[in-house]
Symmetry: C2
Subunit: 357 residues, 2 copies
Amino acid sequence: MWNVVEDDLESIAIGAGILGTGGGGNPYIGMLRAKQLIRENGPVKVLSPDELDESDYIVCVGGIGAPTVGIEKVRDNQSYYALKAIEDFTGKKASAIISNEIGGSNSVEPLIPASLAGLPVVDADGMGRAFPEVQMKTFFVYGIPAYPMAVCDEKGNTALITEALDGKWVERMARAVTIQMGAVACYALAPMTAHQIQTTAVLNTLSLAKELGEAVRVARTANEDPIEALMNVQSGKVLFQGKIIDLDRQTTAGFAKGQVVIEGMGEYESNKLTVEFQNENLVARLNSEIICIVPDLICIVDTERGEPITTELLRYGFRVTVLGFPAPELWKTPEGLATAGPSAFGYDVEYADLELT
Amino acid sequence: MWNVVEDDLESIAIGAGILGTGGGGNPYIGMLRAKQLIRENGPVKVLSPDELDESDYIVCVGGIGAPTVGIEKVRDNQSYYALKAIEDFTGKKASAIISNEIGGSNSVEPLIPASLAGLPVVDADGMGRAFPEVQMKTFFVYGIPAYPMAVCDEKGNTALITEALDGKWVERMARAVTIQMGAVACYALAPMTAHQIQTTAVLNTLSLAKELGEAVRVARTANEDPIEALMNVQSGKVLFQGKIIDLDRQTTAGFAKGQVVIEGMGEYESNKLTVEFQNENLVARLNSEIICIVPDLICIVDTERGEPITTELLRYGFRVTVLGFPAPELWKTPEGLATAGPSAFGYDVEYADLELT
């Protein structure tokens, strides 16, 4: 058990930006929202998954929509209203909150309903990274139904998905409603037991985000290389370094979709890296060869400060380093790859483990 | 109190086709679905609105989507599942069912959950005709909230709208979900009391549909003019007679939208009538002058048999008569016109009463 205090949010925002692989919602805005509530209501308790009790009733919350919209249409406390809607529908009070994805602002989204309802959050999430679609959570890959789901906007509209053929159908309906709500909304879904969390979630990821962020902050203060500091916390690989020379990004079908082209610098001179994204970075091609692909993590960071750059903030001229990290093991099984591997995003490519050497 | 027996359905289908002003879902298909259930479970009881009891809890049901899709993707018993979803959500059992709109297949949609749940239907509806959008019901014009609403498809998906800013927001969210479900779905919404029905519904419309249909059937058997027979039941006006010479119809945004051009015959020779529709016929222009506009009813019928032709079945070459009927009074108030008058469909035209002489 530990407590999230104000200063932790600065670290979590950086770590969640890394783990978000470009998506999950802008971590800076997420941090500001959580900071305000923690300042008002005090620290939020974080429970390790093994500290959960069998009687616990844990609700998952998150944001849904296009990050390109999310930086303009800032979320309020809708995930709290969504939590209430799920509690009303099921007739049962939540005893803890879990994040849908540890990436981006979604890493701290649970802190908002947790702070407002006086509940702890669980140190775990449903992705161990960020993914663009609702069904892409380890919970659902390993048998938890993706409904009921409540989607709320800031205007006072609430839609509940109470039954669905599968998680993809939940995604379809929730995305359609989100687009009507203005392409950004918050949700709560899939109440779970302690055992379900312990066996289907990616564990200890809020701690990991915090640790990654702390390493970057320490390196910055000490004038050390923040990228090396990241690698010391989580084994990964520098895929590329260079300058953004082209960007094609559209807000379409409730997502930010597109690709960014980076021209190599230093040892990467006269090479190009192209990263394709759907909210999150999906595939990195060195010249034309794929060198990292979902579910492995592709993270674009500011070369100098190690600051993660989310897909909605990519811009011509940025000097960036592209990092690759191996996906959590739960994504590398046949079921995991079927839900969030290359084929789930329309790539006719076999997944191959990221080579770390 | 009366009972809907199998033979009544033939009459209701014709009458509801007239009152549907081109929309409300294909009445023939609606009739077949209701006939099967009445054959299996016996007649369905129809309560006059003044026979309702103050303890009654009346749920409104209907179909939603594009009629062009509805003739291919036939509805099953989804309105029954939607009723159950509303009952589960509110924790209260329905004691009667009311139609959302008396037009098209929606006139008989309540017979399906009524037959399956052993409940009566109310001789009334929320339009006294058909309209394309969810918020366009007299209930909602006169203060009943348009939620909760349950939308169900044939695959097993259920979405609930549990809170909304207003009826238009319910429409936006429900339409978006319906499009994902395949552009046709069924719904249940807005549980009401007897008093609410008595003061906000259009009354005795199932009887009216039946009476209109019976008049047409009697005229056909007697080789009399079915159109004259219709006018004897409900005062209206022949707007035009001729042949369909052009049709522009698209299934877009979950609606069938377009226009039909009719070339005059007989006394209408060398004139053209254009009827624009969004599921339902909205405006009739003689040459370029508007001669009938929503909320008044514009009905296209087969000239010889008096058979109503819904917008999804319009076809080049049909010999048709276009009829106009005055809208129910509840639509002619400022509130009624704001919800379903010309401006609600984007026409910058003042509503003017249909002149019957």
